[in-house]
């Protein structure tokens, strides 16, 4: 059932509307899961996750015992223009939570989103990598809430769980705000901006059904899930460009590399020469790989999860 979460009047002939789809099972008031996506308008992976979750729920609605709220577009103007931030304002919606009821229009929108999700038993915020890097399906949890969230994160069929140290800016994100309000919340990150990887999406959706089973919301069958690698910041090696040019990766995403392996080159198309050979400084899984070719000194090329064996 489509419901309006928030709306305001734009200057000319249009409303800004945030919608959700509420899918109710046999005992709708027992448990509630909120699946949100589209905070960043250039990240489309969540569109497939929302579609496939809703499709499977509607197909087997007799097995659903709680309520699932699906919010596919929290930044609808951004999604329509493939713009990461809120168009015109240039602000990152995921730095505006918990919002303000008596604030600016978008602060009001953020407050309305928080209010609508409040009371849920779990919230999943689905993101893609941005347009610059591709990510393997991973769950990101703030270190502050890790003890509480890790048992649930492991059910999401992700390849890894990354426990981040809490930077101060994270305090303005939706998941941080919801966790502070007592709604266990996690970020799912997969794929790359402006694209959909159906395989990654299916993997995560399987995890969402496992999570619902654990929460006692789903009585239907579920498939197999994998055990994720669990990491902290100290186990992640950031590979950054030391030069300015065009990055040509020499490896595929989501592969294990050994120390010294070639990850790619930064080249100069104008001069026809290699400016920098990029090699792995440590062995591990390349869970992030640059997709956007132009790089400057400091641009992120890859992230390697170290301290795990080759499988």
């Amino acid at each position: 059932m489509k419901e309006e979460v928030f709306s305001i009047e734009l200057p000319v002939g249009e409303r800004f509307v945030i919608n959700k789809n509420r899918i109710e099972g046999k005992r709708p008031r027992t448990k509630r899961l909120a699946i949100v996506t589209g905070i960043h308008g250039d990240e489309f992976e969540g569109q497939y996750v929302c579609y496939e979750t809703a499709r499977r729920l509607l197909e087997g609605q007799e097995f659903l015992t709680g309520t699932v709220d699906i919010y596919p577009a929290l930044n609808p103007l951004g999604l329509e223009q493939a713009e990461h931030k809120i168009p015109k304002l240039g602000l990152d919606l995921n730095r505006m939570f918990p919002g303000k009821k008596n604030g600016t229009a978008m602060e009001q929108a953020a407050a309305a989103i928080v209010e609508d999700i409040s009371g849920a038993d779990m919230c999943l915020d689905v993101h893609a990598g941005d347009v610059f890097v591709k990510e393997i399906p991973q769950v990101r949890v703030s270190e502050r809430f890790a003890d509480q969230l890790l048992p649930f994160a492991k059910l999401l069929n992700a390849d890894m769980i990354w426990t981040n140290a809490t930077a101060t800016v994270h305090e303005s994100t939706l998941t941080y705000s919801m966790n502070m309000l007592g709604v266990p919340s996690m970020v799912l990150e997969l794929g790359v901006g402006t694209r959909i990887d159906r395989g990654f999406g299916n993997q995560v959706v399987e995890g969402i059904f496992h999570l619902m089973k654990e929460l006692g919301m789903w009585e239907g069958s579920v498939g197999e899930i994998q055990y994720p690698a669990i990491s902290t910041d100290g186990e992640v090696d950031f590979i950054r460009s030391g030069s300015t040019g065009v990055f040509l990766p020499a490896i595929a995403h989501n592969h294990y590399v050994r120390k010294g392996d070639r990850l790619g080159e930064v080249v100069s198309p104008l001069e026809g020469k290699i400016l920098e050979e990029v090699n792995a400084k440590k062995s591990g899984l390349v869970f992030t790989l640059r997709e956007y070719p132009f790089v400057r000194e400091g641009s992120l090329l890859a992230r390697i999860l170290t301290g795990i064996g080759e499988e």
Partner: protein
């Protein structure tokens, strides 16, 4: 005057972005003034350029006091200025939300790190900056309530108002906050414009900076005493929001006195021209901030008023 390179960013197909500082006087790092960190801060760049012109003359006349050194950085995000973009690069990152930066981080992190490394030892830090919302302010000095803020010092600029703002988590990444964290007395100066030049308010800001430098014993300069500033807590401002979206016709300007119950703006229908909403002053006071764009979205802030203050 000594010109020095603070940081250089290379691009594949553009000339290097060189952040330059202009140093005056010899001695302890006493006052640092920063201009356009964002690509639309033209007025801020203009004020800094005029300041450099004045300081050059003062230095030639021996009017910079012994043992004092002043650094002016007029422009940071010049690539943004040249392409009409507020934030930096294709990543669209606000450098003023990336302090204190990291020397092993991404490009904006490195820019912020190098700037901060150069400016953090100054006793006084003055940033000419802009607000995230478009509109006009009465010229004022803004400080964050970090526990180290000193409104008595801010008063020495001689501008009509000093505003103290409670920092949000996001503010902890600004230059002002990090300056204060390093025990620099930090001030943000706001004039009424950003992307266009207003000579009158630019001159007012220039005079305010020179007045402050004089009063702190850094330069010898004869200037008008200015105002005894009115100190305002930002939370005490009365915000006026619009209930409808449409064409915005403001009836009052920043600095004007408005009476309770009098009309201060109209929202007109963009198709038929009728008045959809008359905005009435909810209190008597001085207009501190005014929305200046032709259009407005429902729920946006039209004005901020200084409650019960008379001219």
């Amino acid at each position: 005057m000594h010109k020095e390179e603070i940081y250089r960013v290379h691009f594949p197909y553009r000339e290097d972005m060189v952040i330059e500082g202009f140093r005056f006087g010899k001695g302890d790092p006493t006052a640092c003034i920063l201009g356009a960190i964002r690509g639309n801060e033209i007025q801020q760049m203009y004020i800094c350029s005029q300041l450099i012109r004045e300081l050059k003359e003062l230095e030639m006349n021996g009017c910079i006091n012994a043992g004092k050194s002043i650094l002016v950085v007029p422009v940071v995000n010049s690539i943004g200025i040249n392409t009409g973009r507020r934030f930096f690069g294709v990543e669209d990152v606000d450098i003023n939300r990336d302090f204190p930066g990291r020397n092993d981080g991404d490009t904006t992190g490195r820019i912020a790190y190098e700037i901060f490394d150069r400016v953090k030892e100054y006793t006084y830090g003055i940033q000419l900056t802009s607000f995230y919302m478009t509109g006009e302010f009465v010229p004022h000095v803004r400080m964050m309530e970090t526990g180290y803020q000193n409104t008595s010092l801010a008063n020495l600029f001689g501008l009509p108002y000093v505003v103290v703002r409670k920092p949000s988590p996001l503010d902890t990444k600004t230059l002002n906050y990090n300056w204060q964290d390093e025990m620099t007395a930090a001030f943000s100066l706001y004039t009424n414009r950003n992307d266009t030049i207003d000579d009158e308010s630019a001159l007012q800001a220039l005079s305010a900076v020179l007045r402050f430098l004089t009063r702190m014993g850094i330069i010898r300069y004869e200037s008008h005493s200015g105002f005894i500033s009115h100190i305002i807590m930002e939370d005490d401002l009365t915000d006026v929001y619009v209930g409808k979206g449409g064409i915005f016709r403001g009836l009052v300007k920043p600095g004007e006195y408005v009476r309770y119950g009098y009309p201060i703006a109209e929202i007109r229908d963009p198709y038929e021209g009728f008045i959809k909403e008359a905005i009435i002053a909810p209190t008597s006071g001085i207009v501190f901030f005014a929305h200046t764009e032709a259009l407005i979205t429902q729920g946006e802030m039209a004005y901020r008023l200084i409650h019960r203050l008379h001219q």
